[in-house]
Symmetry: none
Subunit: 248 residues, 2 copies
DNA sequence: ATGATTGATGAACGTTTTTGCAGGAAATTT
DNA sequence: AAATTTCCTGCAAAAACGTTCATCAATCAT
């Protein structure tokens, strides 16, 4: 069998079945594993496939979101940087959705080995890009606005979780009125997440500080840490520190 | 034998078998390898064949695998068009993931009012774009390869559903061996989906027909309908029709 | 007619490509 | 932590390649 012929066979096999094992191909075509590996390397180099340990994957599935156009993007990146430092190997982590959480997902170090629970479609799409992260999706009805799961089933599931830390992308926070939001279903989910976590971290751009919405999630005392892009020493934060919230 | 005569023989041989080896030709025509090589070079220069190390390939056989994303994209679009016609307002619909299902999601008419259950992140992302569709996501661990939820929880949830119709994006189908796949977890999910649906529809490009993988999902009799881009009258489908599968 | 020219072919020879194998590194699994 | 699988690097043998050159036949010019 000619080399080119063989490579086209491999390519077809991958496109048809989304993945191939080196060992299978080697048996099917009857050449040494080294030859298959070399073929896969060449095909990967031209970008036709994705090579992985033990075989190769189809490129069709590799989708990623555009990151531009997000409001206050640089600030959110900085927040993500700070948040990542709270995460340790082996942790069980609950997260909501929102663009700030997406940045957190992108900022996760490659070597991190942890388990993420989320009900946010975009966040889950990001998490699964990471090689060593396990993703558990919380199912139920998907809210079209927020692209996260809401509903009784979801809440029941969340209550069964006992997470080390919870990252909330929040909508509004106020020293007096605490955490508020504008979607009843989302509020329920966030409440449940807070209950199910040992430590609760709020991520928000400084602009949202001392704003409020119609629906209450909880008082400030549910919060352990708040992360913004600003210097933790700033005066705005004094009221929060008094109520026991650590600022990063 | 004249030069021209010889080259025509080579061309015929290539069009017949899609490939030739230099060594074979050399033996068949009884000339030196150098002569064959010179012939192949000339034929390649006029664009009639593709010269490769060791021989040459037919140009027509060279599957033009496009780089712009999804394999066999147009075919999948056509499949989606056919599949959409099975959907009625008010239906409860179960779907797997896969690029063919994504096309189905994109082909859904704006006015359609239905409820979709899925465990596929990319499919869910598509569904929620539609104004009148309710999306229920089946939660559990997300498999990184297939971007679909897998695991006991997911299967339990699926079994509680009673869907009108189930669209399976399938990996391999064979008249004798039935539906097969290459990922154990995914197989379990698909089995559950089949059980929970009144009607089961398989979507696949014709190229996958009569291929098989290592793990069995079920025999052909679990299938009600199979949709491909080909004409339902084609001979390949006879074996499937005999086993009671309707072809669209 | 005869020498020159052209084109096709095969042989020679050095180069490149392909392939499998050995041995150690790296990753994955138990 | 140990064992297994997979990967990578270098190496060597075989196959295929391209280039050059010589031969031979057919054609052309004088």
């Amino acid at each position: 069998m000619l080399k080119k012929e063989r490579q086209e066979f491999i390519l077809r096999e991958i496109n048809l079945h989304n993945k191939v094992l080196t060992s299978d191909l080697c048996e099917a075509i009857n050449v040494s594993e080294d030859t298959i590996r070399r073929d896969l390397s060449e095909l990967a180099e031209t970008g036709d496939i994705i090579k992985v340990h033990g075989g190769a994957l189809s490129r069709s599935f590799h989708v990623s979101f555009q990151t531009n156009g997000v409001y206050s993007h640089d600030n959110k990146k900085m927040i993500a940087q700070k948040a990542v430092r709270l995460i340790r190997d082996g942790m069980f982590i609950l997260t909501t959705g929102g663009t700030t959480i997406l940045e957190l997902a992108r900022a996760l170090p490659q070597h991190l080995r942890a388990t993420f629970f989320t009900g946010s479609l975009p966040a889950a799409m990001e998490y699964i890009q990471h090689p060593n992260i396990e993703v558990i999706f919380i199912g139920d009805r998907i809210s079209k606005n927020s692209k996260i799961t809401v509903g009784g089933d979801a809440i029941t599931k969340i209550k069964q979780i006992n997470a080390d830390i919870c990252f909330l992308g929040i909508n509004a926070i106020d020293a007096e009125h605490g955490l508020t939001d504008n979607d009843w279903d989302v509020v329920q989910v966030k409440k449940a997440m807070i209950q199910s976590s040992k430590k609760v971290v709020a991520l928000t751009i400084a602009e949202k500080i001392n704003t409020q919405q119609k629906l209450k999630i909880g008082d400030l005392d549910v919060l352990d840490i708040m992360i913004t892009e600003s210097d933790p020493g700033e005066k705005v934060f004094d009221a929060y520190k008094e109520k026991g919230v650590e600022i990063l």
